[in-house]
Symmetry: D2
Subunit: 460 residues, 4 copies
């Protein structure tokens, strides 16, 4: 017994296994599939062949139908059947149902290989834009928290042991800068992704005068991937580049989460969250747990696992499409989804978090001033290593001091007293503008392609 | 605005984030949760306190209701709501709805921490039993294929280059033995998992005379985890042990898949699969692709990713329950699910696979007999290294031979002509008996506990 | 320009690249290579062919020379040259230098593939024996620390927040039990490893009546790997099995390290280490840092990285030897080396560690008794969930209590007051006996094979 | 018994464990340590304090001595002792030996934390510059090979099965473009790394008016890391960013290696390597194995393992220096070393590789023209899906064709007949110029700082 598909009869057990979760996962890509198809069809309608594969009138019909499907995707009424195998065949089936023979023409001069590649890159682009906005939003919250508490003393630690006087401002803006740094990597991933694989077909091009620069432009890409074989082989690779970038974001979040978990233990009490942002225990009535932070910390490893899976799949894979690549879809989509969820909830947590000045001050003991004492001796001309040795022997004689006073001596660039909040805020603002620019350029291209305002789908 | 849960009011955004996919994932564990609860309640009913927390009659009532819920779980009519947070609270809500105050008693002297731990171990046990059966089934298919083609010549390769004469029998039974070896590791994971954490509560025990040996016995475990803190800390760890074991199975499958992919290329044509076990292309009408095998190869990396995620989560985690552990649930459940799916489909593939004797023989050239030639010289008293050097210089003089004749000289244990199929088949049979024994012991215990035949739920 | 090797002329750049670190790494395997060669030669001398490949007298000569080499390996005077490529060719060169044509015979009927496989399994066996001893030694130290502080109160935490009253005894013996559990996995790895690949040659056996059961027995293995192709393919796989097992040990150590790092912060001060077991800072004279523990925590990730590397290499590798496997050598050898170093230093740390009873008691606040209060109400007949709700509303009324008194109510199996130290100590002792048995059996076999006492090499 | 170090007395076992391989690994960083120290000292000499910590004359003395040490590092006569612990203390000891009290001053206002961070970033910068040159060199070789064989037909495959007509030019330039794409990611890593952490001291700055912009400029960095706490926390993170980038390079290489391994099997014979670039077997005199390629394929997983280790170490680490970070040193240094070795050897392999036109053409069968046939029907007005169905039913009727003729129809951008070699070569050239610019700017800065020509160390 076999099951009929658009591309042949398949044993049902095999069909179920090979389709896997695609029936569900591909729904996420349906919007991109409509957009990619619109560009492909537009290009076909301009291809210099006679008779035209698709006429200008036919193009309009198809695009109108694609916008309809797109609207249904958003409503949740578009479905993929197992016998479709994937979103591409489901869309072709859909178009053939509504447009008849015209629907059978849309797959001319393309393959599901370049189609899925372009879908993933379009989807990835939108996700990266949103993610970068969220990274900057969280950085902004951290910076606000830092500014608000810029001179609140906090024990600076190395090896988790008290080390030197520091401030809440330094602590919070360190996390902000980590995320701002991640933007470099996200931006590189965005650029890596911003090239169009369409027209590669199965990886060897097509015997037809397609215009790959046109489809690339219609879809708002920077340029086409050049080599068609690489265009399909870059699938999977592109995903690992993006997952590597978001793994950096998760590393930043995991450390922020760890710090807050630690410093909201009652033995520190530095930071606290409103009760309704914590969760309770089923057996211990008194519990108020930082579950959100623990989950964020854990989800960093989840995303690393996705990266490892994807790298493992791509590693040593012969060039030319291999079905292995389907298996990169879930870690890729989930990786972006998980990371964005963490970014948003952390922005909420930081916004709601309070610093307890009294508790923060209580953490200071006299030892923490040892390095300052050594530097005092240095100022008097003692070579540093001798000053260090002297203080080490006379540790007991160190006196408690007012941390705020001591902190006043740390004014150099980036030190607790030398943080340039205006500079940091300006850096965030510049990056925001860049992201908005990318977003606008992309959405304008798609709006023009579809003839409706995108992403809202309002007709002009 | 907050949302009421059984354990406190929570901000809805936080609730959604912390619950995550548990509403869906926990359904898989609902059966185990009913069983674990039945054992706990039975133990409570025998606890030497006055008044009894739960009477013998009450116990019967609860267990009857648990069997009802269990039946509904199987029908698909049991549901977990976001405000339940997880299966445990959903079940408690369910029992409280049907049994009133009696339902509120079932959580006495336990915590969701030990409850989820026992659920995961029960579920893992059932999955491992099924998986071991599937590993042995695939080994059996491979052995049958090997036996059937035991003397069919096949080029033996190292570095993928032709090396020495070999047989299809050697090739197929090598894969069988790899899987049989994996049973050692699966068995160790089974034993690691086969200890009962129930009674650990939140990791510090309870101020009540609970009988942990009794619950362990009721649930068919080998013994309780001793230390209650370790009982909760072993969550996550136990999952990594099991994922490590199934990662071995996937390694074996990935290599089997790789071999068949390679050797079913037309340039070899050694093995072939019926058309309906392959899939086609959307653009190339002639294609017959080994998609199943490619997906199996890729899924091995997927499972490795799950292992990495889980190890990363557990690594360096402070003892005592941390919410991070929730994040190990999906990779654990998915890891077992993915692996079992691969095992089953590979058994089908191997069963359907055909060896093409002509193509296999065509692969032999004269070079492949070089080592045999050297051994001939050795037999005449030439030191091996001199014989080797002699043959290397006179490679061109090597003659083509009948591979079957040459193979006759390889009769020692485990060589192409020295495979002991009876021994291997007996080894599989012994392992099957062991697995069946484990399965029977476990199901008998649960049948006794629930008072209905398990897993069928037929009432006696 | 090329460079002459025993197996052909090679471009020097290629030779350097392919040999890689083997010149250094293989020195570690030189001892195993001598032993494996002794077994192979002994078997050859008993092979039923005429003329004998190696006579009984020749066997004695070779083995005597192998013992000499072995002694030189231990002195550090045995060297591997780049043109040797590896330890096997270095040893053959050595034997040929001292024994002439007799040396050229030792490689009869074997390949470097089965030779390196047997070397790695012999080395792995010795390492696992030592490692298991070290795991049990550290478990023993933890148990002693637990017993000594069995009734010292310690705040039990979940989510790092205070949860329930607990003890240092529970905490320390939880870590001990984790390591004892790891022994299950180590034991499985030991058994997996305990089969002899010798005689597989390049993976296809040899055209000679070799006796693989004999070599297996001579080397103290449980039995031969059966299928010769699998015997070579199991290289890499065997390493991942062992690395998975030791990754578990490292997970246990990482959590122990994390706990001590946390609880030796001055805000807790629960545990302390002598000053000379900590390290200082180059700039802060007062610092006393738990560097050892931080490194142990980090090295757990190092070992996970080794596991990922090795799994990645083996994944999807075609059967038959591939040079990729050479690259598993370093992570395998380093993984075992790193783990053993951590085990030994942690035993020292635990031995030197002191618990500060006053600081431990100071951590208790009244909230921690909430669950106990709920259980008190349960004892009076209140359904648990109602008792829980009641206590939650009246948290402020909870009174501080003497933790030692409260702990007395936790007497059930494995609870703070119910730890069975005799049972745990007996479990360790049983495992020690097993390891010693394995060690003895192995060393006796080698002593018999070499004709000198092994491992001491004293002549009888 | 303890051992004296510059920063306190330490138990020798602890010292050995904590120092680990640093005595060896740090030698690689000695050059960067001298350079970083030169910048720090120069800045100290300009610090507006009285008395000056270091005078202009003293600065000259120190820098002269640093250049001497640097020369000794290159000769191999600079050594690190275990009691030094690391390169920083070794250098301080060295300077103190030769310069007396002046040597004791160099550590004023810095910590080993910012010192090692700056060392790693300087070293990483140099390595990335060299690596980018090597990536471009290999891309160039691949492009030359592609150009030379641009019209040589080669079976294009998907799922490894013959799919469509293609060329060696497409195949080779696909690999070239993959590497060129990697340059995006390497460039982002370079920029991420190109910020100066010096002056962060232990992560909290120093109570002195240091000029962090000056040291940044002296060392040729783009700008300082702003926040001093982030400056130290970015250690480890920066390494993971670089390792992620080079993991991409290794992914590209692993696929190139896999392709050549496959297509140099005698069943294909598409590509061949000179005998001296292959290695032989110890038992099979005829073998000619692609060991280099197998090792490159494997080393990709090795590098992934390094990435996983490093990410695991950084993940969830509390801010502020933790000794865990030391453990990122080896995977970081080794990762760069391994990748560069693979790049260089692959350039050699590609240079030496020959394409066998006859063998390449022999791979074509008639099925491969199926998609072209369907496109012919489309050109006649048949909807694509109908054309596809028609061809699928009439596969047997397809005729063999001259692949070169068929390929002529694939002229669009990036297709086998539409590769724009000038465009690709120009892209490589542009990137080369950028890398050279970065290299020049960096070396000029260091030359100016040291007062000698860098990297040659010739005195002006």
């Amino acid at each position: 017994m076999t099951k009929k598909t658009l591309v042949g009869n398949i044993n049902p057990e095999v069909l179920t296994f090979t389709v896997g979760k695609d029936v569900m996962l591909d729904l996420v890509l349906a919007e991109a599939d409509c957009i990619g198809t619109a560009a492909h069809v537009t290009m076909l309608s301009k291809m210099p062949v006679k008779p035209a594969v698709i006429t200008a009138t036919e193009r309009k019909k198809i695009i109108k139908e694609l916008v309809n499907v797109l609207a249904r995707v958003r409503e949740g009424s578009f479905e993929i059947d197992v016998s479709d195998q994937d979103v591409h065949m489901a869309l072709e089936r859909e178009l053939t149902t509504t447009l008849g023979d015209l629907g059978k023409k849309v797959h001319t001069a393309r393959s599901r290989n370049d189609q899925i590649s372009v879908d993933l890159r379009l989807y990835g682009k939108e996700q990266l834009i949103q993610m970068m906005k969220e990274v900057l939003a969280l950085s902004g919250e951290l910076l606000r928290f830092a500014f608000k508490n810029s001179s609140v003393p906090m024990v600076g630690r190395t090896h988790l042991q008290p080390a030197m006087p520091s401030t809440v401002g330094l602590w919070a803006s360190a996390h902000a800068e980590s995320l701002m740094d991640d933007m470099t990597v996200l931006k590189a991933a965005f650029d890596f992704n911003d090239r169009c694989p369409l027209g590669a077909a199965a990886g060897f091009g097509v015997p037809a005068p397609i215009d790959r620069k046109l489809t690339s432009k219609l879809l708002g890409f920077a340029e086409p991937v050049h080599n068609v074989l690489y265009a399909t082989s870059s699938r999977g690779k592109c995903e690992t580049v993006i997952l590597s970038a978001i793994a950096q974001v998760m590393l930043s979040l995991s450390r922020l989460a760890e710090d807050i978990i630690l410093y909201s233990m009652p033995e520190f009490g530095y930071f606290s969250l409103p009760e309704e942002y914590c969760t309770g225990s089923s057996i211990m009535p008194q519990k108020k747990n930082p579950d959100v932070l623990e989950l964020v910390r854990a989800k960093s490893s989840t995303v690393h696992g996705y990266l490892v899976a994807t790298m493992g799949i791509v590693n040593g894979l012969p060039t030319g499409y291999n079905r292995d690549l389907q298996e990169t879809k879930e870690p890729f989509l989930e990786g972006m989804h998980v990371t964005r969820g963490c970014l948003r909830i952390m922005a909420t947590m930081v916004k709601k978090m309070k610093a307890d000045k009294k508790a923060l001050k209580a953490g200071f003991n006299s030892d923490i001033y040892a390095a300052d004492k050594a530097m005092e001796l240095v100022a008097k001309g003692v070579p540093f290593r001798d000053a260090y040795d002297h203080v080490k022997v006379h540790l007991k004689e160190l006196k408690g001091q007012n941390p705020s006073e001591v902190l006043k001596n740390r004014n150099h660039l980036g030190a607790p007293g030398g943080l340039d909040f205006d500079f940091l805020a300006a850096r965030i603002e510049t990056m925001k503008q860049q992201v908005r620019g990318n977003s606008r350029r992309y959405h304008n291209a798609i709006s023009k392609l579809l003839g409706v305002k995108y992403p809202s789908l309002e007709r002009g």
